[in-house]
Subunit: 222 residues, 2 copies
């Protein structure tokens, strides 16, 4: 940076917006809140927090996730920073979007501190509808959905949507939901075989062949 005499520049508010994704009933869901105040009173919005003056962006995201879900150690990553001038009709706010992934079994969003009215929203349904969404959050959600789909193809990000031990039919379903298309069992298994390792457990009680639990293999370097 060349000019650091920032006195000539007004400072800005910086917020972190959170996209907490999970999969419930074989649908991709997003944790959203219904706003209790204007603007956009009673419309749904992404949860978010302002970034403190002595707080890292990642720390703010972590704090927000904790406040909304009660969870401390779930996967999250920074997505993109949105800086349109009129995103918020009242004041200038720069928003850094963070995406978090959590298996539904861990997500008891009622446990959050300020769960005024958090709900899990069906993402595809929401994006297909023209339901009103606060601020520029529809755009943010679209971007996150796109990014999530992309990353599934070349990373192991989907593992964060299942528990530590999972069956392959379950994991495959997660992939299918994120990719928006069905996959062949045999091919899917061949593809992820190098990334997983067997456990000694299998499902019980189903009226069909049980399926084995696997876990993610660590340290893929040899």
């Amino acid at each position: 940076m060349e000019e650091y005499d920032s006195s000539q520049y007004e400072k800005l508010s910086v917020a972190v917006d959170l996209l907490v994704f999970t999969i419930e009933n074989d649908r991709l869901k997003l944790l959203m809140i219904k706003r209790s105040e204007n603007p956009f009173k009673n419309t749904i919005a992404l949860p978010g927090v302002f970034v403190g003056i002595k707080e890292t962006l990642d720390a703010a995201a972590k704090r927000g996730i904790k406040e909304e879900t009660g969870l401390k150690n779930i996967y999250f990553e920074q997505l993109y920073t949105f800086g349109e001038v009129k995103r918020d009709p009242r004041m200038r706010i720069i928003s850094v979007a963070y995406m978090a992934l959590v298996p539904i079994e861990k997500l008891d969003y009622k446990a959050g501190e300020r769960t005024i009215s958090a709900e899990l929203v069906d993402v595809e349904e929401l994006l297909a509808s023209n339901k009103k969404i606060a601020f520029d959050h529809r755009e943010i959600i679209k971007y996150a959905r796109w990014r999530l789909k992309n990353k599934v193809e070349y990373t192991d990000i989907a593992f964060h949507l299942v528990e530590e031990e999972f069956t392959l039919p379950r994991l495959q379903k997660v992939y299918e939901i994120l990719l928006g298309k069905e996959l062949y069992k045999a091919n899917f298994r061949k593809k992820i075989a190098p990334m997983i390792e067997e456990t000694d457990y299998i499902t019980v009680g189903d009226a069909h062949r049980p399926s084995r639990f696997y876990r993610k293999k660590q340290a893929d370097d040899e």
Copy 2:
């Protein structure tokens, strides 16, 4: 966002840091400046500008690029936002990193408005050395270098580093520099073929077979 009573939060300075990449003498280069003031006086840094209160992030990036290079219409994209508390030893500054790509033929960085001492730095050399770099800019450069390499593999981003009309040996060289490895002519051409179209021009004057100029094909949908 739930709580919009921002009065309890201090506002922050937001800056845009610019990574203007080009290829000169078959080396990946980055436009950097030598700081004339403390902190980090006389050390190299990324150029950057503060984001105005009524200015979009993209607009700030565009303005910065214009000021540094004199160019108005080159490719750029947002990379990542860096928000460590002590990135700048004096004050809290959030920095949104933008990457720009420009063919060396267009880059006359002496034309910039505040070209106190802009220079093109060899990126690999810089990262291999332990030369002092201002702020957290080494980290930012590392990230950008990584991202650039990645995007070359699955996008046509490399085209922004050559002029509108280019020869395939030239374009291949650009790919090789970005990927850090040599490629086979035949394979490279097969891969690139669907994205380009012939022109009527060929190189002249070289003491060997001339090479044809191509341009990027538009509208790949049919």
